[in-house]
Protein backbone atom coordinates (compact mmCIF):
# COMPACT_ATOMS: atom_id res chain seq x y z
CA UNK A 1 0.00 0.00 0.00
CA UNK A 2 2.80 2.37 0.96
CA UNK A 3 4.55 1.55 -2.27
CA UNK A 4 1.47 2.44 -4.27
CA UNK A 5 1.23 5.82 -2.58
CA UNK A 6 4.90 6.45 -3.26
CA UNK A 7 4.49 5.63 -6.94
CA UNK A 8 1.48 7.89 -7.13
CA UNK A 9 3.42 10.79 -5.60
CA UNK A 10 6.33 10.25 -7.98
CA UNK A 11 4.00 10.22 -10.98
CA UNK A 12 2.52 13.55 -9.91
CA UNK A 13 6.04 14.96 -9.56
CA UNK A 14 6.98 13.72 -13.01
CA UNK A 15 3.91 15.26 -14.57
CA UNK A 16 4.80 18.61 -13.00
CA UNK A 17 8.41 18.40 -14.14
CA UNK A 18 7.32 17.45 -17.62
CA UNK A 19 4.98 20.41 -17.81
CA UNK A 20 7.76 22.75 -16.80
CA UNK A 21 10.00 21.31 -19.53
CA UNK A 22 7.16 21.59 -22.03
CA UNK A 23 6.61 25.22 -21.11
CA UNK A 24 10.28 26.18 -21.14
CA UNK A 25 10.68 24.62 -24.56
CA UNK A 26 7.60 26.47 -25.80
CA UNK A 27 8.98 29.79 -24.60
CA UNK A 28 12.42 29.10 -26.03
CA UNK A 29 10.99 28.28 -29.45
CA UNK A 30 8.82 31.41 -29.44
CA UNK A 31 11.24 33.88 -27.90
CA UNK A 32 14.50 32.87 -29.59
CA UNK A 33 15.75 35.34 -32.20
CA UNK A 34 14.19 34.84 -35.60
CA UNK A 35 10.66 34.25 -36.76
CA UNK A 36 8.77 31.56 -34.84
CA UNK A 37 6.39 30.98 -37.74
CA UNK A 38 9.21 30.11 -40.12
CA UNK A 39 10.47 27.66 -37.53
CA UNK A 40 7.33 25.55 -37.68
CA UNK A 41 6.42 25.97 -41.34
CA UNK A 42 8.35 24.12 -44.00
CA UNK A 43 9.82 26.64 -46.46
CA UNK A 44 8.83 24.32 -49.35
CA UNK A 45 5.12 24.32 -48.49
CA UNK A 46 2.41 25.80 -50.69
CA UNK A 47 0.88 28.98 -49.19
CA UNK A 48 -2.48 27.21 -48.68
CA UNK A 49 -0.89 24.34 -46.74
CA UNK A 50 1.15 26.79 -44.73
CA UNK A 51 -1.97 28.78 -43.88
CA UNK A 52 -3.73 25.63 -42.72
CA UNK A 53 -0.83 24.59 -40.51
CA UNK A 54 -0.50 28.09 -39.08
CA UNK A 55 -4.12 28.01 -37.97
CA UNK A 56 -3.72 24.42 -36.71
CA UNK A 57 -0.73 25.37 -34.58
CA UNK A 58 -2.36 28.66 -33.65
CA UNK A 59 0.69 30.63 -34.77
CA UNK A 60 -1.49 33.61 -35.73
CA UNK A 61 -2.89 33.85 -32.20
CA UNK A 62 -1.52 35.64 -29.13
CA UNK A 63 1.18 33.84 -27.11
CA UNK A 64 -1.22 32.56 -24.46
CA UNK A 65 -3.59 30.98 -27.00
CA UNK A 66 -0.61 29.53 -28.79
CA UNK A 67 0.41 27.83 -25.58
CA UNK A 68 -3.04 26.26 -25.21
CA UNK A 69 -2.83 25.00 -28.80
CA UNK A 70 0.69 23.75 -28.15
CA UNK A 71 -0.34 21.69 -25.14
CA UNK A 72 -3.41 20.39 -26.95
CA UNK A 73 -1.35 19.44 -29.98
CA UNK A 74 1.15 17.71 -27.76
CA UNK A 75 -1.47 15.46 -26.21
CA UNK A 76 -3.10 14.70 -29.54
CA UNK A 77 0.32 13.89 -30.99
CA UNK A 78 0.25 16.68 -33.53
CA UNK A 79 3.82 17.98 -33.80
CA UNK A 80 3.56 19.23 -37.35
CA UNK A 81 5.51 17.90 -40.31
CA UNK A 82 9.21 17.26 -40.46
CA UNK A 83 10.90 19.63 -42.95
CA UNK A 84 13.36 17.03 -44.02
CA UNK A 85 11.22 13.92 -44.30
CA UNK A 86 8.00 15.69 -45.23
CA UNK A 87 6.09 13.30 -42.96
CA UNK A 88 4.24 13.86 -39.71
CA UNK A 89 6.83 14.09 -36.93
CA UNK A 90 4.87 11.75 -34.74
CA UNK A 91 5.24 8.94 -37.27
CA UNK A 92 9.00 9.43 -37.52
CA UNK A 93 9.64 9.43 -33.80
CA UNK A 94 7.20 6.54 -33.39
CA UNK A 95 9.41 4.60 -35.82
CA UNK A 96 12.62 5.49 -34.01
CA UNK A 97 11.53 5.05 -30.42
CA UNK A 98 11.58 1.21 -30.31
CA UNK A 99 15.11 1.17 -31.76
CA UNK A 100 16.37 3.53 -29.08
CA UNK A 101 14.63 1.62 -26.31
CA UNK A 102 16.09 -1.64 -27.59
CA UNK A 103 19.67 -0.36 -27.60
CA UNK A 104 19.33 1.70 -24.44
CA UNK A 105 17.72 -0.84 -22.13
CA UNK A 106 19.83 -3.76 -23.32
CA UNK A 107 23.02 -1.75 -22.78
CA UNK A 108 22.01 -0.65 -19.29
CA UNK A 109 20.88 -4.11 -18.18
CA UNK A 110 23.94 -5.81 -19.64
CA UNK A 111 26.42 -3.36 -18.14
CA UNK A 112 24.70 -3.35 -14.73
CA UNK A 113 24.66 -7.16 -14.55
CA UNK A 114 28.28 -7.54 -15.65
CA UNK A 115 29.32 -4.63 -13.41
CA UNK A 116 27.63 -6.23 -10.39
CA UNK A 117 29.18 -9.61 -11.15
CA UNK A 118 32.71 -8.28 -11.67
CA UNK A 119 32.46 -5.88 -8.74
CA UNK A 120 31.56 -8.78 -6.51
CA UNK A 121 34.64 -10.69 -7.65
CA UNK A 122 36.88 -7.63 -7.27
CA UNK A 123 35.73 -7.04 -3.71
CA UNK A 124 36.30 -10.70 -2.89
CA UNK A 125 39.92 -10.43 -4.00
CA UNK A 126 40.46 -7.08 -2.35
CA UNK A 127 44.06 -5.89 -2.50
CA UNK A 128 45.12 -8.72 -4.80
CA UNK A 129 46.09 -8.50 -8.46
CA UNK A 130 42.59 -9.34 -9.74
CA UNK A 131 41.16 -6.43 -7.79
CA UNK A 132 43.82 -3.95 -8.88
CA UNK A 133 43.49 -4.79 -12.58
CA UNK A 134 39.72 -4.77 -12.45
CA UNK A 135 39.67 -1.36 -10.76
CA UNK A 136 42.14 0.10 -13.25
CA UNK A 137 40.26 -1.45 -16.16
CA UNK A 138 36.98 -0.03 -14.90
CA UNK A 139 38.46 3.46 -14.44
CA UNK A 140 39.99 3.46 -17.89
CA UNK A 141 36.95 2.16 -19.81
CA UNK A 142 34.66 4.48 -17.88
CA UNK A 143 36.62 7.59 -18.83
CA UNK A 144 37.28 6.78 -22.49
CA UNK A 145 35.73 9.40 -24.79
CA UNK A 146 32.66 7.64 -26.13
CA UNK A 147 32.48 8.82 -29.76
CA UNK A 148 36.16 8.08 -30.14
CA UNK A 149 35.72 4.58 -28.72
CA UNK A 150 32.88 4.08 -31.19
CA UNK A 151 35.14 5.14 -34.07
CA UNK A 152 37.89 2.81 -32.87
CA UNK A 153 35.40 -0.07 -32.59
CA UNK A 154 34.27 0.54 -36.16
CA UNK A 155 37.84 0.85 -37.37
CA UNK A 156 39.03 -2.36 -35.71
CA UNK A 157 36.03 -4.72 -35.77
CA UNK A 158 34.11 -3.53 -38.81
CA UNK A 159 36.83 -2.22 -41.11
CA UNK A 160 40.03 -4.13 -40.31
CA UNK A 161 38.56 -7.45 -39.19
CA UNK A 162 35.29 -7.09 -41.08
CA UNK A 163 33.34 -9.01 -38.44
CA UNK A 164 30.44 -6.61 -38.19
CA UNK A 165 28.69 -4.13 -40.48
CA UNK A 166 30.06 -0.59 -40.29
CA UNK A 167 26.77 1.24 -39.75
CA UNK A 168 23.02 0.92 -39.64
CA UNK A 169 20.61 -1.44 -37.96
CA UNK A 170 19.46 -3.78 -40.72
CA UNK A 171 20.77 -5.04 -44.06
CA UNK A 172 18.35 -4.14 -46.84
CA UNK A 173 18.93 -7.34 -48.77
CA UNK A 174 17.94 -9.48 -45.79
CA UNK A 175 14.79 -7.53 -45.01
CA UNK A 176 13.57 -7.12 -48.57
CA UNK A 177 13.99 -10.82 -49.33
CA UNK A 178 10.55 -12.45 -48.89
CA UNK A 179 12.07 -15.89 -48.21
CA UNK A 180 13.98 -14.79 -45.11
CA UNK A 181 12.40 -15.90 -41.86
CA UNK A 182 11.93 -13.98 -38.64
CA UNK A 183 14.92 -15.62 -36.98
CA UNK A 184 17.27 -14.48 -39.74
CA UNK A 185 15.93 -10.94 -39.41
CA UNK A 186 16.45 -11.05 -35.68
CA UNK A 187 20.01 -12.31 -36.14
CA UNK A 188 20.62 -9.55 -38.65
CA UNK A 189 19.62 -6.86 -36.15
CA UNK A 190 21.70 -8.57 -33.49
CA UNK A 191 24.68 -8.59 -35.84
CA UNK A 192 24.32 -4.83 -36.35
CA UNK A 193 23.78 -4.25 -32.67
CA UNK A 194 26.98 -5.86 -31.38
CA UNK A 195 29.25 -2.85 -31.90
CA UNK A 196 26.97 -0.07 -30.57
CA UNK A 197 25.94 -2.26 -27.68
CA UNK A 198 29.58 -3.18 -27.02
CA UNK A 199 30.57 0.50 -27.01
CA UNK A 200 27.85 1.50 -24.55
CA UNK A 201 28.61 -1.53 -22.42
CA UNK A 202 32.33 -0.71 -22.20
CA UNK A 203 31.59 2.87 -21.18
CA UNK A 204 29.04 1.95 -18.52
CA UNK A 205 30.06 -1.26 -16.79
CA UNK A 206 33.11 0.34 -15.13
CA UNK A 207 31.18 2.70 -12.90
CA UNK A 208 28.81 -0.11 -11.83
CA UNK A 209 31.79 -2.33 -11.07
CA UNK A 210 33.38 0.34 -8.87
CA UNK A 211 30.14 1.05 -7.01
CA UNK A 212 29.43 -2.64 -6.49
CA UNK A 213 32.98 -3.19 -5.26
CA UNK A 214 32.91 -0.48 -2.61
CA UNK A 215 29.34 -1.33 -1.63
CA UNK A 216 30.32 -5.00 -1.22
CA UNK A 217 33.25 -4.04 1.01
CA UNK A 218 30.91 -2.01 3.19
CA UNK A 219 28.32 -4.79 3.35
CA UNK A 220 30.88 -7.40 4.35
CA UNK A 221 31.43 -5.48 7.59
CA UNK A 222 27.77 -5.76 8.58
CA UNK A 223 26.66 -7.79 11.57
CA UNK A 224 24.57 -10.24 9.59
CA UNK A 225 27.61 -11.27 7.59
CA UNK A 226 29.48 -11.99 10.81
CA UNK A 227 26.47 -13.99 11.95
CA UNK A 228 26.48 -15.95 8.71
CA UNK A 229 30.17 -16.68 9.17
CA UNK A 230 29.60 -17.73 12.76
CA UNK A 231 26.93 -20.14 11.58
CA UNK A 232 29.66 -21.79 9.55
CA UNK A 233 28.18 -21.06 6.16
CA UNK A 234 30.32 -21.49 3.10
CA UNK A 235 32.12 -18.35 1.92
CA UNK A 236 30.52 -18.62 -1.51
CA UNK A 237 27.03 -18.75 0.02
CA UNK A 238 27.77 -15.73 2.18
CA UNK A 239 29.08 -13.82 -0.79
CA UNK A 240 26.35 -14.65 -3.28
CA UNK A 241 23.28 -14.96 -1.09
CA UNK A 242 23.91 -12.76 1.93
CA UNK A 243 26.15 -9.91 0.84
CA UNK A 244 25.64 -9.43 -2.91
CA UNK A 245 21.87 -8.78 -3.04
CA UNK A 246 22.14 -5.98 -0.49
CA UNK A 247 25.33 -4.61 -1.95
CA UNK A 248 23.73 -4.37 -5.39
CA UNK A 249 21.17 -1.79 -4.24
CA UNK A 250 23.45 1.25 -4.68
CA UNK A 251 24.03 0.10 -8.25
CA UNK A 252 20.30 0.43 -8.88
CA UNK A 253 20.40 3.97 -7.46
CA UNK A 254 23.33 4.88 -9.63
CA UNK A 255 21.58 3.58 -12.75
CA UNK A 256 18.92 6.19 -11.99
CA UNK A 257 21.41 8.96 -11.26
CA UNK A 258 23.41 8.34 -14.41
CA UNK A 259 20.43 8.14 -16.75
CA UNK A 260 21.01 11.59 -18.20
CA UNK A 261 24.63 10.62 -18.81
CA UNK A 262 23.54 7.40 -20.51
CA UNK A 263 21.11 9.28 -22.74
CA UNK A 264 23.90 11.62 -23.90
CA UNK A 265 26.05 8.57 -24.60
CA UNK A 266 23.17 6.86 -26.38
CA UNK A 267 22.70 9.82 -28.72
CA UNK A 268 26.42 9.89 -29.53
CA UNK A 269 26.53 6.13 -30.13
CA UNK A 270 23.45 6.21 -32.36
CA UNK A 271 24.97 9.05 -34.37
CA UNK A 272 28.34 7.39 -34.97
CA UNK A 273 26.83 4.00 -35.82
CA UNK A 274 23.89 5.61 -37.70
CA UNK A 275 21.55 3.58 -35.54
CA UNK A 276 18.04 4.83 -36.44
CA UNK A 277 17.03 6.04 -32.99
CA UNK A 278 15.66 9.18 -31.36
CA UNK A 279 19.06 10.49 -30.28
CA UNK A 280 20.44 10.37 -33.80
CA UNK A 281 17.26 11.96 -35.09
CA UNK A 282 17.70 14.83 -32.62
CA UNK A 283 21.31 15.43 -33.67
CA UNK A 284 20.30 15.19 -37.32
CA UNK A 285 17.32 17.51 -37.02
CA UNK A 286 19.34 20.11 -35.12
CA UNK A 287 22.02 20.21 -37.80
CA UNK A 288 19.40 20.47 -40.55
CA UNK A 289 17.24 23.09 -38.81
CA UNK A 290 14.31 20.69 -38.79
CA UNK A 291 12.66 22.43 -35.83
CA UNK A 292 9.43 20.42 -35.48
CA UNK A 293 11.40 17.18 -35.40
CA UNK A 294 14.01 18.59 -33.02
CA UNK A 295 11.36 19.82 -30.60
CA UNK A 296 9.44 16.55 -30.59
CA UNK A 297 12.55 14.36 -30.26
CA UNK A 298 13.75 16.41 -27.34
CA UNK A 299 10.40 16.20 -25.56
CA UNK A 300 10.28 12.47 -26.14
CA UNK A 301 13.80 12.01 -24.77
CA UNK A 302 12.94 14.08 -21.69
CA UNK A 303 9.86 11.90 -21.27
CA UNK A 304 11.91 8.71 -21.56
CA UNK A 305 14.39 9.98 -18.96
CA UNK A 306 11.62 10.84 -16.51
CA UNK A 307 9.83 7.52 -16.93
CA UNK A 308 13.05 5.53 -16.61
CA UNK A 309 13.80 7.47 -13.44
CA UNK A 310 10.44 6.39 -12.09
CA UNK A 311 11.08 2.78 -13.06
CA UNK A 312 14.43 2.81 -11.28
CA UNK A 313 12.94 4.39 -8.14
CA UNK A 314 10.11 1.87 -8.01
CA UNK A 315 12.51 -0.98 -8.62
CA UNK A 316 14.62 0.26 -5.74
CA UNK A 317 11.69 0.57 -3.37
CA UNK A 318 10.59 -2.90 -4.40
CA UNK A 319 14.03 -4.47 -4.01
CA UNK A 320 14.87 -3.00 -0.64
CA UNK A 321 12.32 -4.03 1.97
CA UNK A 322 14.03 -1.76 4.50
CA UNK A 323 12.92 1.25 2.52
CA UNK A 324 9.22 1.93 2.23
CA UNK A 325 8.50 5.48 1.36
Amino acid sequence: MELRRYIFRRIIQIIIIFFVILTVLFLLFRLAPGDPVSRMIDPDMTPEDAELLISQLGLDQPLWTQYVYYVKNFFTGNFGNSFHYGQPVVRIIGDRLPNTILLFTSSIILSALVGIFLGKIASWHKGKKTDTWMTIGALVTHTVFLPWLALIMIWVFAYKLDWFPITGMISEEVWLDPDVGLLAKFLDVLHHMVLPLGTLFLIHFGSYLLIMRSSMLETLKEDYIITARAKGLEEKVIRDHHAAPNAALPVVTSVGLSLAFSINGGALTETVFTWPGIGRELVFSVSHNDYPLAQASFLLIAFVVLVSNLVVDVLYAYLDPRIRY
Binding site: I17, I21, L28, A32, P33, L139, V140, L151, F261, S287
Partner: protein
Amino acid sequence: MVHAVKTDKNISKRFRWIDPFQEGWSIFKESILGKIGLTLLIIFALMALFSFIPPQIDPMYHPMTGVDPEISHSTGPSARHWLGTDFMGRDLFSQLLAGARVAFMVGVSAAFMSIFLGTAIGMIAGYSGKGIDTLLMRLADMIMVMPTLLVILILSSLFGQLNIWTIVLIIALFRWPGVSRVIRAQTLSLKQRPFIEAARVAGASHLRIIFRHIMPNVLPLSFLYMTFRVTSAIIIEAALAFLGFGDPGTVSWGMMLQWVWKTGHMFNAPYWLLPPGICISLITLSFYMLGRAMDEVLDPRLRKEEGAG
Protein backbone atom coordinates in the same frame (compact mmCIF):
# COMPACT_ATOMS: atom_id res chain seq x y z
CA MET B 1 52.85 23.07 -1.36
CA VAL B 2 56.04 21.32 -0.33
CA HIS B 3 55.60 20.83 3.34
CA ALA B 4 52.55 19.14 4.62
CA VAL B 5 51.60 20.99 7.72
CA LYS B 6 49.95 18.84 10.29
CA THR B 7 47.39 21.05 11.92
CA ASP B 8 46.85 20.58 15.59
CA LYS B 9 43.35 20.51 16.88
CA ASN B 10 44.10 23.37 19.22
CA ILE B 11 40.88 25.31 19.72
CA SER B 12 42.61 28.59 20.47
CA LYS B 13 44.16 28.48 17.02
CA ARG B 14 42.11 30.39 14.47
CA PHE B 15 40.45 28.23 11.87
CA ARG B 16 41.77 29.04 8.44
CA TRP B 17 40.09 27.82 5.25
CA ILE B 18 43.39 26.44 4.00
CA ASP B 19 43.77 24.02 6.92
CA PRO B 20 41.61 21.15 5.65
CA PHE B 21 43.47 21.25 2.35
CA GLN B 22 46.86 20.99 4.02
CA GLU B 23 45.68 18.21 6.23
CA GLY B 24 44.39 16.34 3.20
CA TRP B 25 47.59 16.72 1.22
CA SER B 26 49.51 14.39 3.49
CA ILE B 27 46.95 11.62 2.93
CA PHE B 28 46.67 12.45 -0.75
CA LYS B 29 50.40 11.94 -1.27
CA GLU B 30 50.05 8.30 -0.29
CA SER B 31 47.41 7.52 -2.90
CA ILE B 32 48.56 5.75 -6.10
CA LEU B 33 45.56 7.02 -8.03
CA GLY B 34 46.36 10.53 -6.89
CA LYS B 35 49.95 10.22 -8.05
CA ILE B 36 49.05 8.90 -11.50
CA GLY B 37 46.34 11.52 -11.89
CA LEU B 38 48.61 14.36 -10.85
CA THR B 39 51.41 13.21 -13.18
CA LEU B 40 49.07 13.01 -16.16
CA LEU B 41 47.66 16.39 -15.29
CA ILE B 42 51.10 17.99 -15.17
CA ILE B 43 51.86 16.57 -18.62
CA PHE B 44 48.66 18.09 -20.00
CA ALA B 45 49.38 21.39 -18.28
CA LEU B 46 52.79 21.43 -19.97
CA MET B 47 51.12 20.72 -23.31
CA ALA B 48 48.81 23.65 -22.74
CA LEU B 49 51.80 25.85 -21.86
CA PHE B 50 53.74 24.75 -24.94
CA SER B 51 50.82 25.78 -27.11
CA PHE B 52 51.82 29.38 -26.41
CA ILE B 53 55.30 28.83 -27.83
CA PRO B 54 55.38 29.66 -31.54
CA PRO B 55 55.89 26.41 -33.48
CA GLN B 56 59.16 25.79 -35.31
CA ILE B 57 57.38 25.73 -38.68
CA ASP B 58 56.60 29.40 -38.63
CA PRO B 59 56.50 31.75 -35.65
CA MET B 60 53.23 33.24 -36.86
CA TYR B 61 51.61 29.83 -37.30
CA HIS B 62 48.06 29.44 -36.01
CA PRO B 63 46.65 25.91 -35.60
CA MET B 64 43.24 26.94 -36.92
CA THR B 65 44.18 28.81 -40.06
CA GLY B 66 47.81 27.92 -40.68
CA VAL B 67 48.19 25.64 -43.67
CA ASP B 68 51.31 24.20 -45.14
CA PRO B 69 51.29 25.55 -48.72
CA GLU B 70 53.09 22.46 -50.03
CA ILE B 71 50.56 20.00 -48.61
CA SER B 72 47.01 19.74 -49.88
CA HIS B 73 45.92 16.46 -48.30
CA SER B 74 46.42 14.61 -45.04
CA THR B 75 49.96 13.34 -44.59
CA GLY B 76 51.58 11.11 -41.99
CA PRO B 77 54.15 12.13 -39.36
CA SER B 78 57.32 13.74 -40.62
CA ALA B 79 60.22 15.77 -39.25
CA ARG B 80 58.40 18.97 -40.17
CA HIS B 81 54.98 17.90 -38.93
CA TRP B 82 55.52 15.61 -35.96
CA LEU B 83 52.03 14.14 -36.02
CA GLY B 84 51.33 14.77 -39.67
CA THR B 85 48.78 17.16 -41.15
CA ASP B 86 45.04 17.18 -41.66
CA PHE B 87 43.17 17.37 -44.96
CA MET B 88 44.03 21.03 -45.52
CA GLY B 89 47.67 20.68 -44.53
CA ARG B 90 47.28 22.04 -41.02
CA ASP B 91 49.78 20.81 -38.46
CA LEU B 92 48.18 18.20 -36.15
CA PHE B 93 50.73 18.59 -33.38
CA SER B 94 49.97 22.30 -33.00
CA GLN B 95 46.27 21.48 -32.99
CA LEU B 96 46.80 18.92 -30.26
CA LEU B 97 48.66 21.44 -28.08
CA ALA B 98 46.01 24.09 -28.68
CA GLY B 99 43.40 21.48 -27.74
CA ALA B 100 45.03 21.01 -24.33
CA ARG B 101 44.70 24.73 -23.70
CA VAL B 102 41.02 24.70 -24.67
CA ALA B 103 40.33 21.62 -22.54
CA PHE B 104 41.77 23.29 -19.44
CA MET B 105 40.02 26.54 -20.18
CA VAL B 106 36.63 24.90 -20.68
CA GLY B 107 37.02 22.33 -17.90
CA VAL B 108 38.29 24.60 -15.18
CA SER B 109 36.08 27.61 -15.88
CA ALA B 110 32.87 25.58 -16.25
CA ALA B 111 33.71 23.55 -13.16
CA PHE B 112 34.51 26.65 -11.16
CA MET B 113 31.24 28.31 -12.08
CA SER B 114 29.11 25.25 -11.44
CA ILE B 115 30.84 24.64 -8.11
CA PHE B 116 30.33 28.25 -7.14
CA LEU B 117 26.63 28.04 -7.99
CA GLY B 118 26.22 24.61 -6.42
CA THR B 119 27.93 25.58 -3.19
CA ALA B 120 26.01 28.82 -2.85
CA ILE B 121 22.65 27.23 -3.64
CA GLY B 122 23.37 24.22 -1.44
CA MET B 123 24.29 26.40 1.55
CA ILE B 124 21.30 28.68 1.08
CA ALA B 125 18.91 25.73 0.73
CA GLY B 126 20.34 23.89 3.71
CA TYR B 127 20.58 26.95 5.91
CA SER B 128 17.20 28.52 5.20
CA GLY B 129 15.18 25.28 5.11
CA LYS B 130 11.40 25.17 4.54
CA GLY B 131 10.00 26.75 1.35
CA ILE B 132 13.24 28.01 -0.14
CA ASP B 133 14.86 24.65 0.46
CA THR B 134 12.03 22.73 -1.22
CA LEU B 135 11.94 25.13 -4.15
CA LEU B 136 15.68 24.99 -4.78
CA MET B 137 15.90 21.24 -4.41
CA ARG B 138 12.97 20.60 -6.75
CA LEU B 139 14.72 22.84 -9.26
CA ALA B 140 17.88 20.81 -8.74
CA ASP B 141 15.97 17.55 -9.28
CA MET B 142 14.57 18.87 -12.49
CA ILE B 143 17.87 20.06 -13.93
CA MET B 144 19.59 16.88 -12.82
CA VAL B 145 17.47 14.68 -15.09
CA MET B 146 18.18 16.79 -18.17
CA PRO B 147 20.81 15.39 -20.53
CA THR B 148 23.10 18.44 -20.76
CA LEU B 149 24.53 17.61 -24.16
CA LEU B 150 21.10 17.37 -25.78
CA VAL B 151 19.95 20.58 -24.08
CA ILE B 152 22.90 22.44 -25.56
CA LEU B 153 22.11 20.88 -28.95
CA ILE B 154 18.56 22.24 -28.82
CA LEU B 155 19.82 25.65 -27.73
CA SER B 156 22.33 25.80 -30.55
CA SER B 157 19.60 24.93 -33.04
CA LEU B 158 17.64 27.95 -31.81
CA PHE B 159 20.43 30.45 -31.27
CA GLY B 160 22.83 29.38 -34.02
CA GLN B 161 26.50 28.53 -33.43
CA LEU B 162 27.34 29.06 -29.79
CA ASN B 163 30.71 30.49 -28.90
CA ILE B 164 32.95 28.71 -26.44
CA TRP B 165 32.11 30.92 -23.45
CA THR B 166 28.38 30.50 -23.98
CA ILE B 167 28.94 26.74 -24.02
CA VAL B 168 30.93 26.98 -20.80
CA LEU B 169 28.19 29.05 -19.19
CA ILE B 170 25.42 26.62 -20.19
CA ILE B 171 27.42 23.64 -18.93
CA ALA B 172 27.87 25.43 -15.60
CA LEU B 173 24.17 26.27 -15.40
CA PHE B 174 23.24 22.62 -15.89
CA ARG B 175 25.86 20.93 -13.77
CA TRP B 176 25.38 22.46 -10.32
CA PRO B 177 22.58 20.29 -8.85
CA GLY B 178 24.78 17.33 -7.89
CA VAL B 179 27.10 19.58 -5.89
CA SER B 180 24.31 21.54 -4.29
CA ARG B 181 22.68 18.37 -2.95
CA VAL B 182 25.86 17.27 -1.21
CA ILE B 183 26.58 20.75 0.13
CA ARG B 184 23.00 21.06 1.36
CA ALA B 185 23.26 17.78 3.27
CA GLN B 186 26.54 18.92 4.81
CA THR B 187 25.04 22.30 5.72
CA LEU B 188 22.05 20.64 7.35
CA SER B 189 24.30 18.67 9.66
CA LEU B 190 26.56 21.65 10.37
CA LYS B 191 23.55 23.75 11.30
CA GLN B 192 22.95 21.50 14.30
CA ARG B 193 26.48 21.91 15.66
CA PRO B 194 27.06 24.01 18.78
CA PHE B 195 29.47 26.46 17.15
CA ILE B 196 26.75 27.68 14.79
CA GLU B 197 24.41 28.09 17.74
CA ALA B 198 27.16 30.01 19.54
CA ALA B 199 27.69 32.31 16.58
CA ARG B 200 23.98 32.99 16.38
CA VAL B 201 23.75 33.79 20.10
CA ALA B 202 26.75 36.08 19.72
CA GLY B 203 24.65 38.06 17.23
CA ALA B 204 26.18 37.03 13.91
CA SER B 205 24.01 37.74 10.89
CA HIS B 206 22.80 34.93 8.61
CA LEU B 207 25.22 35.96 5.89
CA ARG B 208 28.10 35.99 8.33
CA ILE B 209 27.21 32.54 9.63
CA ILE B 210 26.98 31.17 6.10
CA PHE B 211 30.20 32.65 4.79
CA ARG B 212 32.30 32.70 7.95
CA HIS B 213 31.28 29.48 9.68
CA ILE B 214 29.60 27.14 7.24
CA MET B 215 31.54 27.83 4.06
CA PRO B 216 35.01 26.88 5.40
CA ASN B 217 33.57 23.51 6.40
CA VAL B 218 31.96 22.69 3.09
CA LEU B 219 34.72 24.02 0.82
CA PRO B 220 36.81 20.83 0.79
CA LEU B 221 33.75 18.94 -0.41
CA SER B 222 33.12 21.51 -3.14
CA PHE B 223 36.71 21.21 -4.15
CA LEU B 224 36.32 17.45 -4.51
CA TYR B 225 33.30 17.89 -6.72
CA MET B 226 35.17 20.38 -8.81
CA THR B 227 37.42 17.64 -10.20
CA PHE B 228 34.40 15.61 -11.31
CA ARG B 229 32.83 18.69 -12.86
CA VAL B 230 36.01 19.45 -14.81
CA THR B 231 35.72 15.97 -16.29
CA SER B 232 32.12 16.34 -17.32
CA ALA B 233 32.64 19.82 -18.76
CA ILE B 234 35.53 18.63 -20.93
CA ILE B 235 33.51 15.64 -22.14
CA ILE B 236 30.45 17.71 -22.98
CA GLU B 237 32.45 20.31 -24.90
CA ALA B 238 34.34 17.57 -26.76
CA ALA B 239 31.13 15.70 -27.62
CA LEU B 240 29.50 18.91 -28.81
CA ALA B 241 32.47 19.76 -31.00
CA PHE B 242 32.53 16.18 -32.27
CA LEU B 243 28.93 16.45 -33.41
CA GLY B 244 29.75 19.67 -35.22
CA PHE B 245 28.24 22.18 -32.83
CA GLY B 246 31.42 23.48 -31.25
CA ASP B 247 32.77 26.99 -31.46
CA PRO B 248 34.01 27.19 -35.06
CA GLY B 249 36.84 29.50 -33.98
CA THR B 250 38.36 27.09 -31.46
CA VAL B 251 40.65 24.15 -32.06
CA SER B 252 39.59 21.59 -29.49
CA TRP B 253 40.25 17.87 -29.42
CA GLY B 254 36.59 17.19 -30.12
CA MET B 255 36.88 19.45 -33.16
CA MET B 256 39.89 17.44 -34.42
CA LEU B 257 37.88 14.24 -34.10
CA GLN B 258 35.00 15.83 -35.95
CA TRP B 259 37.29 16.76 -38.83
CA VAL B 260 38.79 13.28 -39.05
CA TRP B 261 35.33 11.70 -38.92
CA LYS B 262 33.54 14.08 -41.29
CA THR B 263 36.29 14.10 -43.90
CA GLY B 264 36.27 10.29 -43.95
CA HIS B 265 39.88 9.88 -42.82
CA MET B 266 39.12 7.61 -39.88
CA PHE B 267 40.19 4.44 -41.71
CA ASN B 268 43.41 5.69 -43.25
CA ALA B 269 44.82 8.28 -40.86
CA PRO B 270 45.49 6.68 -37.45
CA TYR B 271 48.03 9.46 -36.70
CA TRP B 272 45.09 11.83 -36.88
CA LEU B 273 42.37 9.67 -35.26
CA LEU B 274 44.32 8.40 -32.26
CA PRO B 275 46.01 11.39 -30.52
CA PRO B 276 42.95 13.61 -29.82
CA GLY B 277 40.89 10.68 -28.54
CA ILE B 278 43.69 9.48 -26.30
CA CYS B 279 44.15 13.01 -24.96
CA ILE B 280 40.46 13.51 -24.13
CA SER B 281 40.29 10.10 -22.48
CA LEU B 282 43.48 10.59 -20.46
CA ILE B 283 42.69 14.10 -19.23
CA THR B 284 39.29 12.80 -18.11
CA LEU B 285 40.97 9.87 -16.42
CA SER B 286 43.47 12.11 -14.65
CA PHE B 287 40.83 14.40 -13.17
CA TYR B 288 38.72 11.39 -12.26
CA MET B 289 41.66 9.75 -10.47
CA LEU B 290 42.45 13.00 -8.66
CA GLY B 291 38.83 13.14 -7.56
CA ARG B 292 38.87 9.60 -6.26
CA ALA B 293 42.13 10.18 -4.41
CA MET B 294 40.65 13.27 -2.78
CA ASP B 295 37.54 11.30 -2.07
CA GLU B 296 39.62 8.91 0.02
CA VAL B 297 41.08 11.88 1.86
CA LEU B 298 37.71 13.35 2.74
CA ASP B 299 35.63 10.27 3.41
CA PRO B 300 36.36 6.73 2.34
CA ARG B 301 32.71 5.82 2.45
CA LEU B 302 31.48 8.76 0.45
CA ARG B 303 29.24 7.65 -2.37
CA LYS B 304 31.15 7.83 -5.65
CA GLU B 305 30.16 10.18 -8.40
CA GLU B 306 28.90 8.04 -11.28
CA GLY B 307 27.93 10.10 -14.25
CA ALA B 308 30.52 12.11 -16.03
CA GLY B 309 28.28 13.73 -18.60
